[in-house]
């Protein structure tokens, strides 16, 4: 990497630095430089949503973001979702309602659902489907995922009440 430069990010609450040449995708930086293999990579053209992370709190496809662009940013990946070694309520709901089979799409699904539930604590099924329209799952047929997000919404509302 002749043209590599240091990129420092705050990932899941920890400051991390790695090397990136300009063409290195954020997805590959997180996986290969920082070892965060919870970030999944599938289509690498923005079509599937598996690589979604939160970049400064906003949804971002890490395969369509350069690592150098993220320098100085806060990144949240699925690896920071759990709490105190346990599952996050969204993860609990996915487990209980068959929101995954192979799990390849799951990191993107969880983070996309998290953002939806911040914006809309009690979404309709249509809103859930609309919000997840950029996340492809080839196992579940989506019914389990929609049920999981509905249940996650309920768990989070209970927690806040």
């Amino acid at each position: 990497m002749a043209d590599a430069r240091a990129v420092t990010v705050s990932v899941d609450g920890r400051a991390r630095t790695g090397l990136a040449e300009p063409r290195l995708l954020l997805s590959d930086f997180l996986r290969h430089e920082l070892g965060l293999t919870g970030v999944h990579v599938a289509c690498e053209q923005g079509g599937c949503g598996a690589c979604i992370v939160l970049l400064d709190g906003r949804l971002a496809l890490s395969c369509l973001t350069l690592a150098v662009q993220a320098d100085g940013s806060r990144i949240d990946t699925v690896e920071g979702l759990g709490r105190d070694g346990g599952l996050h309520p969204i993860q609990q709901a996915f487990q209980a309602h068959h929101g995954l089979q192979c799990g390849f799409c799951t990191p993107g699904m969880l983070l996309t659902a998290q953002v939806l539930l911040q914006q809309a604590p009690d979404p309709t099924d249509d809103e859930i489907r609309d919000h997840l329209s950029g996340n492809v799952c080839r196992c579940t047929g989506y019914a389990g995922i929609v049920a999981s997000v509905r249940e996650a919404a309920r768990l989070l509302r209970e927690e806040h009440s």
Binding site: P22, R23, E44, Q45, A60, L61, C63, L64, G108
Partner: protein, 269 residues
């Protein structure tokens, strides 16, 4: 599926961007269209000029006109007063990609990319909008009609930066928006936009660039039945065949979409 090598500069002002722009350079804004092309190596620029940290390039202003900074994110525009002032813009933005692409993708980037099946170029044309392009020698305005010159091709010169998108006025005319795509948020196989009084009828996804249908617009203004207008708008189309749909199919669904868009617009008043 990894980009070829390129140089990268993150600029802090439009002047810095203009100094960096050159023939083999590409402007990087939201990256939602450019980075897939880089990943597939369909684009191999020697330099990327990243404008994401240019302050103010994402502002949205509303007075007699609606001015949207080129770097304004699609999701932010959807939540802005501009979307409330131009309901057609809001309706169309909901069809642009998905939440994760809209959160990064920009208005200016989508226009400069000029995908013939994209919604925003068609919207700019339907609303008589224009873009502002800056270079080191000055600034010029380019009307939508002159801006989109072919598939993925615009009137923007290599030394120019698209800085603003201007819609001439808040616009609450009755509108209809209809498109067909395999999956909500994907690029359209075909799409139609209708505005009433005065009429605008724009088709997209059917040729190299979005196009108005002037004969059909006159028929709309005269109150002609939707089926008649749809026939006039699509009679002379010869859409291309591609892997997504053949041309004959596209022409047939275009007529259906025009009818639906007219019915939707007329139901709004």
């Amino acid at each position: 599926m990894k980009p070829a090598r390129f140089d990268y500069v993150a600029v802090a002002s439009t002047d810095e961007a203009l100094d960096a722009l050159a023939d083999e350079a590409k402007v990087l804004a939201g990256g939602q269209s450019l980075v897939p092309l880089l990943n597939m190596r369909l684009a191999r620029p020697s330099l990327l000029v990243d404008v994401n940290r240019v302050p103010g390039l994402d502002r949205v202003e509303l007075d007699e006109a609606v001015r949207i900074g080129a770097l304004a994110r699609q999701a932010d525009v959807l939540a802005s007063p501009a979307a409330a002032a131009v309901p057609l813009l809001a309706a169309a933005l909901r069809h642009v990609g998905h939440p994760a692409t809209r959160s990064r993708g920009t208005i200016g980037g989508s226009l400069a990319h000029a995908d013939p099946a994209a919604e925003l170029p068609a919207i700019l044309l339907a609303l008589d909008g224009e873009v502002v392009a800056r270079s080191r020698t000055g600034e010029r305005k380019i009307a939508a009609e002159a801006f989109f010159t072919g598939p993925f091709t615009t009137a923007l010169r290599a030394d120019e930066l698209l800085t603003d998108v201007v819609l001439p006025r808040p616009d609450s005319r009755p509108f209809g928006f209809a498109e067909l795509s395999r999956r909500h948020g994907d690029f359209a196989l075909a799409g139609a936009i209708v505005l009433l009084r005065p009429a605008r009828l724009v088709l997209f996804g059917l040729g190299g660039a979005p196009e108005r249908a002037p004969v059909a617009e006159r028929a709309l203004d005269e109150g002609a039945p939707a089926a008649e207008v749809a026939e006039a708008a699509t009679r002379d189309l010869s859409p291309v065949d591609d892997v997504h749909a053949d041309g004959a199919y596209r022409r047939r669904i275009a007529a259906v979409l025009v009818r639906r868009a007219i019915q939707e617009a007329r139901s709004r008043g």
